[in-house]
């Protein structure tokens, strides 16, 4: 399976795959940024006193979490053109993954905010802060410690999920691997190589996420003792 000829081919494929891995990273970072912002908005909307807004956010979360990423991607890429919105595949993947992870991130934000002692928000309003000010200056900074570790875990999952974008032919690692496979018909070698590249990107990230989890747990304990 691994002969000198194969190694020569691997050397030929590597530059292309590395460029494609760059696209994968770019897609993941953009979708993650979108998810962070949209997720916070959804979480705040869900906690809003306006009934319709909070219910709409709940429905959004349940819809996203109950359906596959692939279906959402296809709805955005193949469905939106029928209402006149045509997105190129890369942008469609960023939007679909970003909106998908926004629902999961909203749940993380909500749990983090709920974990901050209620008295903190009440004290903030007692000294005359508005609800928004209390959220921004008092509650969110404390919720961060609880929110960060699961958010980091989501980054790992998102990075791997970008592979789904190959199914709408968005330029990224898995798509490039498909191309090379159809050119050389060596699927085992090419997909294993792609797998190694995903591993090289995702494994350090998940080690980082675990480190963050421990570090935040320690700092929470310290904060409680202080």
């Amino acid at each position: 399976m691994i002969s000198a000829a194969t190694l020569a081919l691997v050397r030929e494929w590597m530059p292309e795959l590395i460029v494609a891995a760059g696209y994968t990273l770019r897609m993941a970072v953009l979708a993650y940024g979108l998810g962070l912002v949209a997720g916070l908005l959804v979480a705040l909307g869900e906690m809003s006193r306006r009934r319709w807004l909070s219910r709409a956010c709940r429905v959004y979360i349940e819809f996203i979490r109950g359906t596959p990423t692939l279906t959402q991607l296809f709805l955005i890429y193949f469905g939106l053109p029928s209402v006149g919105i045509v997105l190129p595949s890369f942008a469609a993947a960023v939007v679909a993954l970003g909106l998908h992870y926004a629902a999961y991130m909203a749940e993380i934000y909500r749990a983090g905010i709920a974990a901050v002692d209620q008295g903190q928000g009440e004290a903030a309003s007692a000294i005359g802060m508005s609800r928004a000010e209390a959220m921004r200056h008092i509650v969110l900074p404390q919720a961060i410690r609880i929110i960060v570790p699961p958010l980091a875990n989501n980054a790992v999952a998102l990075l791997k999920d970008t592979s789904v974008a190959s199914l709408i032919a968005a330029p990224e690692l898995m798509m490039r691997a498909d191309d090379i496979t159809s050119e050389f018909y060596m699927p085992m070698q090419v997909y294993c190589l792609a797998g190694v590249m995903y591993f090289i990107m995702a494994f350090p990230l998940s080690l980082g996420a675990r480190w963050l989890e421990r570090a935040m747990a320690r700092s929470r304990i310290r904060a409680r003792r202080a």
Binding site: P68, L70, L75
Partner: protein
């Protein structure tokens, strides 16, 4: 827009028939992959908590590698990769194996956490009354660990159900695959993918209600 919906209503029986047939296959793939995941997860959780350093390292490597590579890549290795080496699996078995291998890595960690959550004294007590390690694991630790892992298993099943949509990429005739065929046939992408989303919701919402109920029951049980 409205003519599309009219065409959709017109062809609804045909479309929904194919989608529901696909949904049955989706459930079959999910169930098959779930069983494979549980078996692999149990085996590797056993390795992960064993006394042999080699087995522990092996199980650890399995967990880290399969959790760090996209499941789509794993599926393609099983379906296209093995075929090139002469091992030709049909799409359905390939999907069951691919998702099973991937899920096994996640469940290894779930089961390990469950086993470790059972107090050590339980094992020690079992050993001191003369049970072998395996018997102690089987009749003392696992029954208690089961209660701990069931909510996580339910969540895993929901994730798996949605992930099986990727099996459409290896032409397994499940819900998403049939949907793609119908879209190519009718161009009613919005309507068809919305129906697909509704069917997935119909399958996953009862599962997630079950998982929440189990979580509540588990929380009650552990207090008792």
């Amino acid at each position: 827009m409205s003519t599309q919906w009219l065409r959709f209503v017109d062809r609804f029986p045909h479309i929904i028939g194919l989608l529901l047939t696909g949904a049955v296959v989706t459930v079959i793939v999910t169930a098959g992959a779930f069983v494979v995941s549980v078996l692999l997860g149990l085996a590797f959780a056993g390795f992960r908590t064993s006394d042999s350093r080699l087995l522990r390292a092996l199980a650890h490597a399995y967990v880290e590698v399969f959790r760090s590579v996209p499941v789509l890549t794993q599926l393609f290795i099983v379906y296209f990769g093995l075929a090139a080496l002469g091992i030709r699996l049909s799409p359905l078995p390939a999907a069951v194996v691919g998702f099973g291998l991937n899920g096994g890595a996640y469940l290894t960690e779930v089961f390990r956490a469950g086993i470790e959550a059972v107090a050590r004294g339980q094992t020690e007590a079992a050993l001191s009354i003369g049970m072998t390690k395996l018997t102690a694991l089987r009749v003392i630790v696992l029954p208690q660990a089961t209660r701990i892992v069931i909510p996580a298993l339910a969540n895993f099943a929901i994730g798996l159900l949605k992930d099986t949509s990727l099996a459409s990429a290896v032409a397994a005739p499940e819900l998403s695959f049939n949907a793609n065929m119908l879209v190519k046939e009718t161009y009613l992408s919005t309507q068809i993918y919305m129906s697909v989303a509704a069917i997935y919701l119909g399958l996953s919402l009862p599962l997630s209600a079950l998982s929440r109920a189990l979580e509540r029951r588990g929380a009650r049980g552990s207090r008792a």
